[in-house]
């Protein structure tokens, strides 16, 4: 065990930094810049039962300290992922987290069943994608919906199950508790916040989908608050994300209660961000003579 390694939902990570689903593809593009083995893990692009073409462009808009996306879960489908991507990723000496989404219960069940038969390390269940019409976020906004999908996935797999929560809710802690009660091994949060930008010249929304998910540094304080609330409400481990772009952000998120961290939009600003954050954490633990597990949840609230 090194000072930066963490055990999360029974899985060992050499460090807690994981590129966030949808921002890193399946790793190929970034492998030219650094070895994937440097990363704690990879949460791969969200996968659905069948190929999804995604939404019409434009799918990207910049915002103050962040961005909106309305990619709409473009992906080749679970069979293609298992056949074409997973075997390669498994040779990369990093934890592979599948990220799945469905438009109904059957789709979640079918994908989770297929993944259970593979050597993927963990399943992250997206019940919070704001960019697809049916399903997705619909399940993530009520305790019943979140519980129902957790129950279904849990019943078909013995892999660690991590439920990915939506911030577009009244009480994220209640949703997390509903997932925990149905046997989730962990929760991850936050997915993107629903947002909108309008081109004042054309009076058209910039995104063809009109609305999209906000991420990047702008959402960081919201994410820290939600991680803190959830970590105080459940006993299962929390994977924190939303606007993390420096090692200091990662430490802050861990103090709030996260024991694993995902990094998304920061990769677009600086493709080396995950590696720089890992280096920063290594220096931090050495300087302070601590291991990262010592700081999880150690914020001292007033």
């Amino acid at each position: 065990m090194s000072a930066t390694s963490v055990t999360f939902a029974g899985i060992d990570f050499k460090n807690p930094i994981v590129p966030a689903s949808g921002t890193f593809g399946y790793g190929h593009e970034y492998e030219e810049l650094y070895p994937l083995s440097r990363l704690g893990g990879i949460s791969v692009k969200g996968t659905t039962g069948k190929l999804r073409p995604g939404n019409l462009p434009p799918r990207i808009a910049e915002t103050p300290s962040g961005m909106l996306n309305s990619v709409g879960l473009q992906n080749p489908g679970i069979d293609a992922f298992i056949r074409d991507e997973l075997p390669y990723l498994k040779t990369k000496d990093t934890v592979v987290i599948a990220n799945i989404a469905g438009s109904d219960e059957n789709e979640y069940r079918e994908i989770a069943e297929k993944l259970d038969a593979t050597d993927v390390d963990m399943i992250e269940v997206n019940i919070s994608c704001p960019n697809v019409k049916a399903g997705g976020a619909a399940f993530g906004v009520s305790c019943e919906g979140a519980a129902q999908i957790t129950r279904i996935v849990r019943s078909v797999t013995s892999k660690p199950v991590m439920m990915k929560l939506s911030p577009n809710v009244t009480s994220i802690a209640d949703i997390a508790k509903a997932c925990e009660a149905e046997g989730a091994d962990a929760v991850s949060l936050i997915n993107t916040l629903l947002g909108m930008r309008i081109d004042i010249r054309t009076r058209r929304p910039i995104l063809h989908n009109n609305v999209g998910g906000l991420s990047g540094p702008a959402v960081f304080p919201v994410a820290v608050r939600m991680v803190w609330q959830v970590a105080n409400a459940v006993k299962i481990p929390v994977c924190g994300m939303g606007g993390v772009s420096t090692w200091e952000d990662a430490v802050e998120m861990m103090l709030a209660g996260a024991s694993l961290i995902q990094v998304g939009a920061a990769i677009f600003t600086d493709p080396l961000a995950p590696v720089k954050i890992i280096e920063g954490l290594e220096e931090y633990t050495k300087r302070e003579n601590i291991s990262l597990t010592d700081i999880v949840g150690k914020v001292q609230p007033w």
Binding site: E29, G54, P58, E62, S65, I267, T269
Partner: protein
């Protein structure tokens, strides 16, 4: 192979109102860059990088040339950078133009700020190229001397006739196609222009490659943000401008 690096600015020139011409030192990227590819540039203080086409490749000096217009806040930040400071870049990115043998005949069309990527193409074909480029007015004309130096035939058009001839590049294209049949047509510029050129090329059954723009996040093909609608065997397929493009065969692009 792509590289992320800090590329020192070794020359910076203001070539028209709000349009900057920079030469940046990045030997690894310059060694591998091909015409039609682009550089993704960090605008400090902004989340998303700005994609800018490669306008010149000097392998001996290890430099790339970029020419860009200040459109909004990010390009304004990049334009403020001075010689001696560095641009934080990822390059070379994307799929460039297919280059035929230099003895083939090419028509190369650039509209406005779509002209920069056409310069290295004109250099490749030299006297076997006909370059048509169009601007709003005389004050917006850029890269004229660069194109003259390639030895290509050149037709300069402006919307108001204050430089070159009055009219659109598509009119000039009709005229050129009456006189010769090129092996390939290349174009970069506004969508309406690209659409007309694509239609014309299809009508005459001439191969045509166009360079497209779309809003990007990662710039490398990972986020699937920069979708472009294409057709393959009559099926609609979303391709990605930063990875499959920015250069596409015109006949596969579905114009909105």
């Amino acid at each position: 192979m792509k590289y992320a690096c800090l590329a020192p600015i070794i020359r910076k020139t203001n070539i028209a109102k709000g349009i900057w011409d920079m030469e940046i030192l990045c030997p690894d990227a310059a060694r591998e860059a091909v015409p039609g590819q682009f550089v993704d540039i960090l605008a400090e203080g902004y989340t998303l990088r700005r994609p800018i086409s490669i306008c010149g490749i000097d392998r001996d000096k290890g430099t790339l040339r970029i020419v860009f217009e200040v459109r909004g806040k990010g390009t304004a930040v990049i334009a403020q950078k001075e010689v001696g400071s560095s641009l934080d870049i990822i390059a070379p990115l994307g799929h460039g133009f297919d280059l035929l043998d230099t003895d083939k005949r090419a028509v190369i069309i650039g509209g406005g700020i779509g002209t920069p990527p056409m310069v290295p193409l004109a250099q490749h074909y030299g006297a076997n190229a006909s370059v048509i480029f169009g601007f709003r007015d005389a004050r917006a004309v850029i890269l004229k001397e660069d194109i003259e130096r390639t030895g290509a035939d050149m037709i300069l058009c402006t919307d108001d006739g204050t430089a070159g001839r009055k009219g659109f590049v598509t009119d000039a294209l009709d005229e050129v196609l009456k006189a010769l049949r090129p092996d390939i047509i290349y174009a970069c510029g506004p969508m309406v222009m690209l659409r007309r050129i694509a239609e014309r090329a299809a009508k005459d059954d001439i191969r045509c490659q166009i360079s497209l723009e779309e809003r990007m996040a990662c710039g490398v093909g990972a986020c699937l943000g920069c979708a472009c609608v294409t057709k393959q065997d009559d099926k609609t397929v979303y391709k990605h401008v930063c990875k499959n493009g920015p250069v596409f065969d015109a006949k596969e692009v579905v114009f909105a």
